[in-house]
């Protein structure tokens, strides 16, 4: 910040400084190369302008050593930047195992978040400083994108699948949350604030919020209300497989294949149950597509995940 004119954005996550290090290196490289080329061209333009007395002997219109060396140099520099960017990027898939799990749902035109304890927020997200937070993202209608510039992170929320983004906030404060993927009429209004708080303040804030039920608890109610428990209940193993510990486990299908029961599999099995049928069971389950909305689906998934004892945050396929 200088004179109220923003130039350098705030850095407020563990990721931000590392992304900026690469950004500023690229910037320095670009400025040096760009100015060198500009200087070269302007220099030639002045020196070899029509009528100038410059020495023009030894003209060449090709030079294999020169052309080879700038090709190789470009390749080496490109691969360095590629490797650096990729090394930072692949960590997106590997959140710490003890991360706090928050679910986020994008819909035209708001963000709805649910804390692990069930507290709901609209266009506001409260997180503790210094703790890894995973946001599981879903979209109700069209594609949205969860973007917090101060954290240097962005992830699309896509209808029909669950995506994830994680971060460790490092500075208490309030930061812009934007929707970065164009989503219709009020796209530019779809956003809000991420509030980063000291852990004790965050705990106090959680307590002050209306004690909503947790996602998993809501999911358990839905599981009964929708009749899932009639077939999938612990005692009923005749018509449908038991779902105890299902999440993350391999499931044998009737077409001889085996899939891991990840979020994608569970989601598809609820909305499109005939797609992948567990071996040994008749395909009698009806589709719940259109009967439940994206938020209810998130609750059901949270409940099914809660039936698995092992920590799941790190083992995300």
């Amino acid at each position: 910040m200088s004179f109220g004119i923003p130039f350098f954005p705030q850095e407020a996550s563990s990721e931000a400084g590392q992304v900026d290090a690469l950004f500023y290196t690229l910037l320095a490289f670009s400025v040096v190369l760009g100015l060198a080329l500009t200087g070269l061209v302007v220099g030639y333009a002045v020196k070899y302008r029509v009528g100038s007395k410059a020495d023009r002997t030894g003209k060449r219109s090709r030079s294999l050593p020169l052309e080879m060396s700038w090709t190789v140099a470009s390749l080496v520099i490109a691969f360095i930047f590629f490797g650096w960017g990729a090394a930072l990027f692949v960590r997106r898939d590997h959140p710490p195992a003890d991360a706090l799990e928050i679910t986020g749902l994008g819909k035209q035109w708001m963000w709805e978040f649910r804390q692990p304890g069930g507290q709901r927020e609209i266009n506001e997200l409260h997180v503790p400083v210094g703790k890894a937070v995973v946001v599981s993202l879903a979209a109700q209608d069209v594609i949205h994108s969860f973007y917090v510039p101060a954290f240097r992170i962005k992830q699309d929320a896509v209808p029909g699948r669950t995506t994830h983004i994680w971060f460790i906030a490092t500075e208490p404060g309030r930061y812009h949350l934007f929707c970065a993927q164009y989503c219709g009429t009020q796209h530019s209004e779809m956003g809000g604030w991420v509030t980063v708080m000291a852990p004790e303040q965050y705990a106090a804030w959680l307590n002050s919020q209306a004690e909503g039920e947790t996602l998993a608890a809501g999911g358990e109610k839905l599981f009964r209300a929708l009749g899932c428990s009639g077939c999938h209940g612990a005692s009923s193993k005749v018509r449908a497989p038991s779902l105890d510990g299902i999440f993350g486990r391999p499931v044998a299908l009737d077409n001889q294949q085996t899939v891991i029961a990840d979020e994608r599999y569970l989601r598809d099995s609820i909305l499109n149950p005939k797609k992948e049928i567990a071996a040994g069971y008749e395909p009698v389950m009806p589709s719940f597509d259109g009967l439940i909305d994206e938020g209810e689906l998130q609750m059901l998934l949270a409940y099914l995940k809660s039936l698995s004892p092992q920590p799941t945050a790190g083992a995300r396929p």
Partner: protein, 547 residues
């Protein structure tokens, strides 16, 4: 003199609407395109100016959000498909390709005229969509917004783009066949002007990529009209499938747009430096490399879309690879100036500005190819700035360079050199003022396609909006002095720039069949350094031509 139609030239070969609208002369078809594309350029440009005025303040006070969304959607659709993709190929390419290869016309003259009618037919759909109420999907038509939630004339606009795609394919086929079969005796592949090489590479991409766009647009219409599930997850489809299909076309389309610009600059720089193009072979081959690699990098538009991280790594790697041939070209263009006799006529100014803007736009591309940085700046103004540096700073600047370079050949008239130089400088200043602040905005986190924005972004937005006004003046100026020169300009000599290239060996403007006697080529392209030829003025009908 106010007689535009000079007797004995293609311009005097029949006047009146019928002679123009039913012509199969590639030079007249080029004019049909030039006039239509100029109209689209200013229509799309007017939308951009409206957007920039709206963005001068953080609140949405000039137009409503729905109108703003329609403005940027139609700006994108018009500028990409109704200006940039056909711009240089269909105008300068159409006019010059036969002249440069020493042919009397393109291989399929009637197909060439048909392509213009198809273009006009398709553009009527797009114009209807504008008048009837617009489209609010963005030029990218992302699903499920475009299929289920958009309330504009999506199918109409998409169908218009679909039809225009066929016009592109027709032009591409025509160019490929012409380059293969109609080259003059002695004009081997490695004696071709780079402009012909780039048109050839462009045509290959047009023919191979456009059908994929056609397929994806048809799938959108099928899903929107008949409810067939392709992209809609509720019907068993996948929204990301659309992005894969769309960018499989639209990334190569970026090279459709920029390659011909590279070709123009490769003609202009040697001419005004009086030097052969440095590293001709490398420039020719890197054009083909760009065309090939351009097909393998579409996933870099999707790093944060939910695509697998490992796919992201592969696409990032390939994107860095495609930077190499572009870098090679920049080095070669720069070295071309070395030890030349450089003069700064209008086309040269535009070409030098191209070199600067393309270099900086290309360097910004490295940021976007670097995965972790892209995560931050993706879908922000940084991306807007990057592709406008390439598409407008690069392509449109090259288009202006070419238009001024070949204007004497097109019209037989000279324009005011002073006016031309002023317009070039105004454009360059206006362009940088408009788009450089957008790099900063993007790094600061302002998302693209925002009708309103937080107040802290205002400073850079005001600069950008001010620049847009300057840029608009820079683009309007040629409309007047080029238009004036058409009627009142001094008669142009056959080779006013003393350039090599077969197109300069015939009269200005050329006769209906291009060459009185067919040329024979005995020299490489850009033979500006051959003994005794440095300052030679070519005569229209060379004595060495075949009987």
């Amino acid at each position: 003199m106010t007689n535009v139609a000079m007797p004995g030239t293609y311009l005097g070969d029949g006047t009146g609407p019928r002679a123009w609208l039913l012509t199969t002369d590639h030079k007249r078809v080029a004019w049909l395109y030039l006039i239509s594309l100029t109209a689209f350029f200013f229509l799309g440009g007017a939308m951009a100016v409206l957007m920039r005025i709206e963005l001068a303040t953080p609140a949405g006070d000039l137009v409503s959000d729905d109108v703003y969304n329609r403005l940027f959607s139609l700006h994108g659709i018009i500028m990409v498909w109704f200006f940039l993709v056909p711009s240089i190929p269909a105008t300068l390419g159409n006019f010059l390709l036969p002249l440069m290869i020493g042919a009397r016309d393109l291989a399929f003259p009637r197909l060439n005229l048909a392509s213009w009618y198809v273009f006009i037919f398709g553009s009527l759909f797009a114009l209807f969509a504008v008048v009837a109420g617009g489209v609010d999907t963005g030029w990218t038509f992302y699903t499920p917004l475009s299929t289920l939630y958009a309330n504009g004339w999506v199918s109409t606009a998409a169908f218009g783009v679909f039809i225009v795609g066929f016009s592109t394919i027709m032009t591409g086929i025509n160019f490929i066949v012409s380059v293969h079969t109609l080259r003059a005796p002695g004009l081997t592949w490695f004696r071709l002007p780079i402009f012909v090489w780039t048109l050839y590479a462009t045509s290959l991409v047009m023919v191979l990529a456009t059908p994929v766009l056609a397929a994806s647009l048809i799938l959108i219409v099928l899903e929107r009209v008949f409810g067939i599930g392709v992209f809609n997850p509720d019907l068993g489809g996948d929204p990301l499938l659309f992005q894969h299909l769309f960018w499989f076309y639209s990334h190569p389309a970026v090279y459709i747009m920029i390659l011909p610009g590279m070709g123009v600059v490769s003609e202009v720089l040697p001419c005004f430096s009086r030097r052969p193009l440095f590293g001709y072979n490398a420039v020719a081959i890197s054009s083909m490399a760009i065309a090939v690699f351009g097909f393998l990098v579409w996933g870099h538009h999707m790093f944060v879309s939910g695509q697998s991280a490992y796919a992201g790594v592969v696409f990032s790697f390939l994107s860095f690879c495609v930077a190499i041939p572009s870098a090679i070209k920049v080095f070669n263009w720069s070295l071309t100036l070395r030890k030349g006799e450089i003069s700064f006529e209008t086309p040269m100014l535009y070409a030098l500005f191209f070199l600067a803007l393309f270099t900086f736009g290309g360097l910004a591309g490295l940021f976007l190819a670097a995965l972790a940085v892209d995560v931050h700046v993706h879908d922000t103004y940084f991306v807007i700035a990057h592709f406008h540096y390439i598409m407008v700073g690069g392509m449109v600047t090259a288009y202006m360079a070419g238009l001024h370079f070949w204007w004497p050949k097109l019209t037989g008239r000279m324009y005011s050199e002073t006016a031309g130089r002023i317009a070039a400088i105004v454009t360059f200043v206006g362009f940088n003022l408009t788009f450089f602040p957008q790099f900063v905005l993007g790094f600061d986190g302002m998302p693209r396609r925002y009708h309103t924005y937080p107040p802290e972004f205002q400073f850079w937005n005001v600069l950008s909006s001010a620049g847009a006004v300057v840029l608009a003046i820079g683009y309007l100026m040629p409309l007047f002095y080029l238009g004036w020169s058409l009627f009142h300009g001094a008669r142009a000599p056959d080779n006013p720039w003393n350039a090599t290239g077969l197109e300069w060996q015939t009269s200005s403007p050329p006769p209906p069949h291009n060459f009185e006697t067919m040329p024979i080529v005995t020299r490489p392209a850009y033979a500006y350094d051959m003994k005794g030829l440095e300052h030679e003025r070519f005569s229209p009908h060379r004595e060495e031509a075949a009987p």
